[in-house]
Amino acid sequence: MQIEINERPTEIAAGTTLAQLRDAVKPEADLCIRNGHPEREDVPLAPGDRVVFIRRGEIPAAEDLEALLAARHTPGVHARIKSATVGIAGCGGLGSAIAVALARTGVGNLILADFDLVEPSNLNRQQYFVDQIGLPKVLALRDNLARINPYVRVTAHNERLTPENIPARFAAVEVMVEAFDAADQKAMLAQVFLNKVPGKPLVMGSGMAGFGPSNTVVTRRAATNLYLIGDGETAARPGEGLMAPRVGIAAHHQANAVLRLLLGEEPA
């Protein structure tokens, strides 16, 4: 009969039990997951069962890991986005969360740029850790992405983006993400990217400070190749800071817009 072992179709003898299979395939395993649930007792296996053997704390072998990571990806989607390249300008509250979402989804190539260092005040919303304080954000984020999905190829530019370097840094992207903090920098990136790298979509964020209603954050098409996410008006200012929930909502709108564009769907 055919079952799946570690996400790969495998032929086994009818009547094999879970413990027999573990002893044959991975005797050191201390967790046996059958059809999504850990099994404490030995059970007979049925055709079509999906079995994963895990040793706690062990990183799976490279040949198994990619199939295991891709197990929840939608067939067809994964193949398409694995070859895709997405640029992310700014690795703060928006950019770090967008990068994590795209890496988990399986986007194959990310180009990151930021000149900033991880500061304690960033940890209220940005995807960094206390032990990364003081590190360049792009390098800290590259490390974090590698711990999530080592099959994402990350190019990290630890520098300030300018009208001069933006076209060269992001010439190869299929979809570009703006994730800056300052409004004038958002405008600069929109002008330079859309003018100098024409024909490619840009997904931007504007208006996600504070703790206003979640549903005022929307995705809309603001120009031919410009998708704008946010409430459009809530700027970060004293008394209305940037917080993880609403920045995360906007970041995941942006990540989903990227995914839809890569799959040929209109984001808004």
Partner: protein, 66 residues
């Protein structure tokens, strides 16, 4: 002349540049992106581009935070 601004018809008096229009709308030229007849403009070109009857513009304004 009549232009289309963010999807709506708008009566304007010529001559009018993109920079003039941004000023008339009381927008901050440092915080906008302007698409003029499907081409996104660089800020340095705002004052040099005259608007003509039938032009289509999208002006997007940004606020800080990210």
């Amino acid at each position: 002349m009549i232009i289309t601004l963010n999807g709506k018809a708008r009566q304007c008096d010529a001559p009018l540049t993109v920079a003039d229009l941004i000023a008339t709308l009381q927008l901050d030229a440092d915080r906008v992106a302007v698409e003029h007849n499907r081409i996104v403009l660089l800020k340095g070109d705002f004052a040099a581009i005259p608007l003509r009857d039938g032009d289509v513009l999208e002006i997007v304004q940004f606020v800080g935070g990210g």
